[in-house]
Subunit: 162 residues, 2 copies
DNA sequence: TTGATCCTTCCAATGATGGGAAGGTCAAGG
DNA sequence: CCTTGACCTTCCCATCATTGGAAGGATCAA
């Protein structure tokens, strides 16, 4: 099986398969004379494992840990469980942080009339508001990436009190 | 005020202030003869605005949109409200996705005895499990970055059925 | 044989931020 | 006056997972 077919079958892009190989997450495969990588059904299975773990939000580094636990026959299920529960806790904390951000922003929006007039408590709230304790660095990553073309935006002068 | 004091006062690091300037989010400041950037109280105010918006999870690009709405005297509050509510919806969706990941993983973990024996439904579930529909690309970013040193990890051979 | 489609490697970009090097500037104290 | 240390400047690099593309070779079907 060539890399393209393995990608199709596993749901991991060919690009990523090569990347996982390069960082040592998966082993180097057999090559054809021409240098093409050759994959077995088992390789595809392994790739699917990785993909599922990624879908559950495990980082590649974490997956490496899972994989080494897996390969180690003498591993105790305690270790896996701890890893999983740590991850559950981290996911839940981040979910809660995002929800808190949403709540804060929704609160601001609720007081915005949303009409043609320029008065807007959202802007005012951002400018002057007391915000709850800042979220974790990771939670911030969730800002944008949802559509709309960029606008020209240079702050020259903002009102000191909105 | 030098950049260090502006950073201290605004909660935005000097590095990030220079970065925001470089991408055009804030205007170029006055410089001293020696080339030092000079900031006013108003600049600090603007930086704080940006920082608060970042804390609410707005991307820099989005903040640019907010800023241009702000600067435009004729902007309608509708526009700001729409931007804010879009953002609320995105935050909530992502929070829900993370929570769903956590639920799935917790479910797997609940069936793990967590003792010395190697049998572990978490690993088995990852290897064979039917996972819910894959989360959004952005939600995946949440995988790792919480501690623990890297382990050696190369998949040579994983069990086909765990 | 030709053209389409695969594969290879290498390089670059993303977003927001931190780290650091190499060098200039400034204020205070000896 | 000169040194010291704290600050500032620009520039480059790293992160993390992933995508994109270019340049060139391989394979396959017509």
């Amino acid at each position: 099986m060539n890399i393209g077919q393995a990608a199709e079958a596993s749901g991991v892009s060919a690009k990523m398969i090569r990347y996982y190989e390069s960082i040592g997450l998966i082993a180097r495969t057999v090559r054809t004379e021409a240098g093409y990588r050759v994959y077995s059904e088992n390789d595809v299975h392994n790739l699917r494992f990785i993909r599922r773990a990624r879908d559950l939000g495990f980082s590649v580094e974490r997956i490496g840990e899972l994989v080494s636990l897996w390969r180690d026959r003498s591993r105790a299920s305690t270790d896996v469980k701890r890893l999983a529960l740590d991850h559950v806790a981290a996911l839940e904390q981040k979910a809660a942080e995002l929800q808190a951000m949403a709540d804060t922003l929704r609160h601001l929006a609720e007081h915005c009339r949303g009409d043609d007039r320029p008065e807007c408590p959202i802007i005012a709230g951002l400018a002057a508001g007391d915000l709850p304790s800042p979220p974790s660095r990771t939670a911030r990553k969730f800002g944008g990436s949802i559509g709309r073309p960029p606008a020209e935006h240079v702050i020259d002068d903002l009102p000191t009190k909105a």
